[in-house]
Symmetry: C2
Subunit: 261 residues, 2 copies
């Protein structure tokens, strides 16, 4: 059994790590598209094109049995395309996150934060409403400054606190009890968000996705491969990678090798 | 006479605008690489590859007589490659900015701010030292959060003021009297920087570049073309474009059409 995980950059390593720890015997391959990161402000057509290229890289090089789209923007824009056009199973982060939020909320008021693209796509709002048996109120907010703040290490900084309040006060005032962290960069801000809004239940898709993979069934092997690829050398990728998952080596691939049809 | 201007995204429109206003009779073509923006955290090899593709697009489609690299990161990493490999003149923003700063400073202490890539390249420091007859002290500081703050419209916001001080206090304390704004996004922060540090002379490359183009010589025509291209549809490009240069239409090109050798 082998799993391919892709993301626009480094954030998806949180998902890679959760799966690695839970399913140690599975071979795992990660690709971060550091040559074209970020995806959060790009168009649907472009995000679908890039996602297709990354999935094809993982399938043709490593014959993976499952693709995990560890990027909320790519999950929001490209998951239907990938499910319809690939012959292997594909899991995104949106459906697991939405399912988890529905099981947690007590008052059926759920908040969703993410990139411009994720929020514009209405991916979470659509799937929350489709999955919920009861009526749900969904409050969405794009938070484009949180990714650069996290990437610059402003995790517990007064500036990040001001920006978080500016983004979240309006949806917290609506009475949401559960907040979906709809971007893989956001879980490192959990302590700060919990400090400002202790009443909120925070949903992290990298944890929620484990249940989905368990359903597929995993064969037992001794010990799995862990390989990480990027489309551009990036010191910020290396720094965050070491912080998130430790000293696994990174291999750079030629972007042109994956963009040819 | 026609000029091709390229940038990673929207910021180079400040350069496009300055040239358009000064040389109204020249035909001008702009391409912003919105499908792969930003360049500021990418590697030298990748920035050279992308710059080559954008220059080739302008040359093969519009037969431009001059290429202006309106992106500090691309000017820092790719200008030597482009000068050595193109048959037409190429102007970046680094040399004009450095020349202007040398003519302005009174105490030979010059500060430079830019993206991670621009500062890491030492492009400004190297050219300042090469051009200066007197000894110069150069103080550099990467300011990666300023681009996202500008793109989110936080132009005169307390958060931007805190971040500007965090970045600039240490180089202002060294006694610099002249600060090069080494990124095309920064000129919109001039009023804020002037408010915090009224003693500083601010150097804007989009103005400094005009002198360089005048040296090349311009033929007179009635009225020039103004065409703008992007590699991805982007609402933030459109918003900032309308703010910077008004209602010139944008055309999207297929990224694959420029990445084939």
């Amino acid at each position: 059994m082998s799993i391919g995980v892709f993301d626009s950059g480094v954030g998806g390593l949180t998902v890679f790590k959760s799966i690695s720890e839970k399913f140690q015997q599975v071979d795992m391959y990660y690709i971060g598209d550091t040559a074209r990161v970020p995806y959060g402000n790009k168009s649907m057509d472009t995000v679908i094109k890039y996602s297709k290229e990354l999935a094809n890289f993982l399938i043709s090089n490593f014959h993976v049995d499952l693709i995990v789209v560890a990027c909320n923007t790519a999950s929001s824009y490209a998951i239907d395309y990938l499910k319809n056009n690939l012959t292997i199973p594909v899991i995104g982060v949106v459906e697991p996150g939405a399912t988890s939020a529905i099981s947690i909320t007590k008052n059926n008021k759920i908040g969703v934060i993410g990139t411009q693209a994720t929020i514009k796509s209405n991916s979470y709002a659509n799937i929350l409403r489709a999955l919920s048996k009861n009526g749900l109120n969904v409050y969405q907010k794009a938070c484009p400054l949180l990714v650069p703040l996290v990437e610059e290490g402003k995790i517990d900084h007064k500036v990040t606190e001001i920006i978080v309040k500016e983004y979240l006060d309006e949806i917290v005032d609506e009475g949401v009890d559960t907040l979906i962290l709809g971007c893989t960069h956001y879980p490192v801000l959990k302590p700060l968000i919990k400090k400002i809004y202790p009443q909120l239940n925070l949903v992290d898709s990298s944890e929620a996705i484990i249940n989905y993979i368990e359903k597929i069934g995993i064969n037992k092997f001794e010990k799995g491969i862990r390989n990480i690829y990027v489309t551009d050398e990036s010191s910020s990728f290396e720094i965050l990678k070491n912080m998130l998952i430790g000293d696994i080596p990174t291999f750079k691939i030629d972007l042109d090798s994956i963009t040819k049809d």
